[in-house]
């Protein structure tokens, strides 16, 4: 059957229209609460439902910058080691979530004692910081802060960065 014939067939367009139409209806009907929250202005920054993580504190760029400049917090970089070497928040410790997930528990021993732990990843909607924070919480670490803006927000605002030349 030729493409021309398929495209000139009314059945094709009727089918396409029905699939799209039904999807819109079902999409709205299947998650009415999320749709309501979205209309109310939630999820403008991130799609994370913060109420699912009562043990974590989510901080913004100014709060992260403040904690960093007061040197009160240790920063954990949950991105890959390569990303970390290419550039990270000065003083941050590399704890790649992927490596921890693969079973490298030794990484946890690298985390220095600190009154506050700030965890970040790439930013945008990366999940590594959140996942790492949940693991740390389950291992008894407290005062966990997740900086969702992450590396992207940090660099975009022109804050200092540090690189490791040796890979």
């Amino acid at each position: 059957m030729s493409l021309k014939k398929i495209l000139s067939d009314r059945q094709t367009w009727a089918g396409l229209g029905l699939i799209v139409g039904l999807s819109i209806i079902l999409g709205l009907a299947s998650h009415p609460r999320l749709v309501k929250r979205f209309i109310a202005g939630e999820f403008k920054q991130t799609f994370i439902l913060k109420e699912n993580y009562p043990q974590l504190v989510f901080i913004s760029l100014p709060e992260a910058e403040d904690a960093w400049s007061r040197r009160q917090a240790v920063f954990l970089d949950s991105r890959s080691r390569e990303d970390f070497n290419r550039g990270h928040i000065p003083g941050a410790v590399s704890v790649p979530f992927e490596e921890l997930k693969m079973g490298d528990e030794g990484l946890l021993a690298l985390i220095p004692d600190s009154p506050e732990i700030v965890i970040y990843c790439e930013g945008g909607d990366c999940q590594a910081s959140l996942s790492l924070a949940r693991i740390l919480d389950s291992r008894g670490f407290r005062n966990l802060r997740v900086f969702l803006g992450g590396w992207a927000e940090w660099t975009q605002s022109g804050l200092p960065v540090e690189t490791n030349a040796a890979e």
């Binding site: 059945q11 999807s23 998650h31 999320l34």
Partner: protein, 148 residues
């Protein structure tokens, strides 16, 4: 194009099955899929949210209909277009040097890499065969045509 109905049936089950699985795994958790969409850094928050709300249903319905024979050609066309789009999307993502979760199957996701393009290409070939094969006229809503 292929005429053997049994081979076409197997193709329908494979492609339809992949899309049903892809759809269902994302419908259960739209927010994490929205995050995956956002991480491709092509669309903003609003479009990511809307994509996450509607696209999984498109995948699910197209998959079910392809197998069930409800508007099978429309379903095959939609699936082919989606796959072509995914392949281009992943290629662009690799070219931009982004390292993202593909978001293909909800929590069972993996990296958007060259192997994903290979995988999607296989589904695309099967789906295009279904789209253009006259033998694929099995349909619940349409009489079997004898002269393709």
């Amino acid at each position: 194009m292929l005429q053997n109905k049994y081979i076409l049936l197997v193709f329908r089950l494979i492609v339809g099955g992949v899309f049903i699985w892809a759809g269902v795994s994302k419908i259960v958790d739209p927010l994490s899929f929205a995050q995956d969409v956002r991480s491709y850094q092509l669309v903003g928050q609003t479009l990511s949210f809307l994509t996450a709300l509607f696209l999984p249903w498109v995948e699910l319905i197209a998959g079910v209909w392809l197998i069930a024979g409800i508007y099978p050609r429309a379903s095959a066309m939609l699936i082919s277009c989606l796959l072509a789009f995914f392949i281009i999307l992943v290629a662009i993502t690799i070219a931009r040097g982004l390292n993202v979760e593909c978001g293909c199957f909800g929590t069972f996701s993996r990296r958007a890499d060259i192997w994903l393009i290979v995988e999607d290409s296989i589904w695309l070939i099967l789906s295009l065969i279904l789209l253009f094969s006259p033998g694929n006229d099995f349909g619940l809503l349409k009489k079997q045509s004898n002269n393709p």
